[in-house]
């Protein structure tokens, strides 16, 4: 009996120690890493899906996670800059910029809205490397997955086949889903939408939706009364389907516009974990697309 227990302890210990400990900055990256790493990774996200990813507060407890991490996966493009100070505070050489366990998933992404010329705060809270919300294009999910795959293979080359198999499965599943989502949104192709922040630019481009304006006059800048008046006129003239509202922004302004224009506000998560129904990368798009479709159905009714 004693021997069996000892054997079990050793076996479980070996099994557990084989797992790579991966820390991600967002829950979207956590979800994709779990698809590729499956049982061979333990993944934790530093932020919650319901948080504004621009404004996550660096906490000492995050340092502990990073200190133990074999790999860090981040969005890059200055969205999750808050993690940079934490990396250094963690003293973990494996996850510093350029190290074996550092994965910036923006590599290979065709960036939208890259500012041209001088960039300063007169343009709002602008990201100098372009719009960082690229994970909201599911095709970019494939690039993110590829970057994560490469990171995992670097750290655990003996598991390369295992990770590659999972990656292929993920890509296959995602490709099918993209076709399905495109079909669902086909009737909205070329239709006009308004969003609060420029979060849905990648999503809109993929599914041929037109985001003709944002509630924020410039990124990160709340609207003035004069701006809102113009926006209401545009919405009325341009036959806008609905207002897409990211669930971490103040709802009051979007609701006020909706009231004045008789349009519906759809409150949407922008990340996995943004609402309790969105548990992984696939259900994030399922949820967003279902909500957009419901909006028009409600309108037709």
């Amino acid at each position: 009996m004693k021997k069996i227990i000892l054997f079990l302890i050793i076996f479980l210990n070996l099994l557990y120690s084989k797992q790579l400990y991966v820390v991600t900055t967002t829950e979207d990256l956590k979800s994709i890493t779990e698809f590729i790493g499956k049982q061979k990774v333990k993944v934790e996200s530093l932020s919650y899906g319901w948080q504004d990813p621009h404004m996550v507060e660096a906490l000492p407890s995050m340092v502990v996670k990073l200190a133990k991490a074999d790999m860090l996966v981040k969005i890059g493009l200055d969205l999750d800059m808050w993690v940079d100070g934490l990396i250094h505070a963690s003293r973990n050489k494996n996850i510093v910029y350029g190290a074996i366990g550092y994965v910036d998933t923006s590599v290979g992404i065709v960036r939208l809205e890259v500012p041209v010329g001088k960039v300063d705060a007169s343009k709002g809270d602008i990201h100098i490397y372009g719009n960082p919300h690229y994970w909201l294009d599911p095709e970019n999910g494939k690039i993110i997955a590829k970057n994560i795959l490469e990171g995992l293979c670097r750290l655990s080359p003996e598991d390369k086949d295992y990770f590659e198999k999972n990656y292929e499965e993920f890509i296959e599943q995602l490709t099918k889903k993209i076709d399905y989502w495109k079909q669902k949104l086909k009737k909205y192709e070329g239709k006009n939408f308004v969003s609060y922040h420029k979060t849905f630019s990648y999503f809109a481009k993929r599914f041929n939706l037109n985001i003709i304006a944002t509630v924020e006059p410039k990124p990160g800048i709340p609207p003035s009364a004069a701006y809102l008046k113009k926006l209401v006129e545009i919405i009325n003239k341009e036959n806008v389907v609905c207002i897409l509202h990211e669930n971490f922004y103040p709802l009051k302004t979007s609701q006020s516009i909706a009231k004045q224009t008789n349009k519906k506000v759809i409150v949407l998560p922008t990340s996995v974990g943004g609402v309790k129904e969105v548990k992984d990368y696939f259900s994030l798009f399922d949820y967003i697309i279902t909500k957009i479709c419901e909006c028009n159905e409600d309108k037709n009714n």
Partner: protein, 363 residues
Amino acid sequence: MKKFIISFILLTSLNIFTQEFKEEKMIQQTPLPGMRGVVANLPDISVTGNFYYRFSTDKEDTTKDKLVIEEIETAFQGYLYPDIRADIFLAMHKHEEHIEAEMCEAKISFQKLIHNLSLEVGKIHVNFGKLNKIHQHHRNFYDQPLVLTNFFGQHGLVAEGLNFSYILPLPLFLQIDLGFWNIPQHHHVEEHHEHHEFSLVDKTYTNKVWLSFPIKTLELEIGLNSLLSNGPHHHEHKDEVKIFGLDLTLRSFFTRNRKFLFTTEVYKLTRDLEHDSIERFGYFVFTNYKFNKYDSIGLRYDDVENVVEGLKTISLSAIYTRSLTETTAIRTQYTYFFDNPKDIHQLVLQIVFGIGPHSHLLE
């Protein structure tokens, strides 16, 4: 046609449509702060400013009812070597009626010596208590809590020396800091309404045990701090100073950018003179509620014993902050000083701003 022209004018009148953007493939990882000037081999350069206008019922106050450019800080930050970073903060401060240039902080950080041990060398905001390490433009109020000013000086505990910092390999965050410092003699505090001065001088030793752990969406931080130093008269006779402190911070995160913060710091100062021993006690309590992406309200209570025995300064502040961006905010702070020697009302309008990439490590 008329409709078309009107909608065209409306569209072009919105700035979001006039900004120029392009599409571009990302071919490399996003450079970190401190590596932005990599192509030109430049460090990150930034400027932060702190301006305020102060109204007060104190008739003796000569700095009231005027715009005060409290501080302009220029930062140069970058890497010297893998894991070795330099941060230089040069500040122009208002001292009475004059603007003085000062090296606010200048440090080299060896981010990993061995295992989890790091080292900072230079002139540093000492990791003592919670607030001392945080630069003024990052704080949630316009002024420094009275206990920090009365015990450590106008700019808090800033000293030249070195600080070792070690994170214990535990499932929770436990960091131990040991600092060895020298504080120049001129760095003293003149306490209001008194003809007494107090400052820490010469060789100073600090220690902090910093513990933090999350409880669901709460984060609790506890700091135990101790300091050994000398008083201003130690060259003439024995004047030894010991300070013990406790800091406690609780942060609670809710959905949609809502956050509650509670922080308090309590200090006991013991000054051993040749034939006497003086004890002083002081603390502040601060609560802040951020109720959306842009706005927060806070309350701060200060209570500190002054150099003259039996005299205390007590104040209560109400603060409203509107954050324009991550680095720029406008603030209104009303403070009521109790019996100092007579009650004083004070209202401050402040703007703090930042231009360029500016970063601080975990504070």
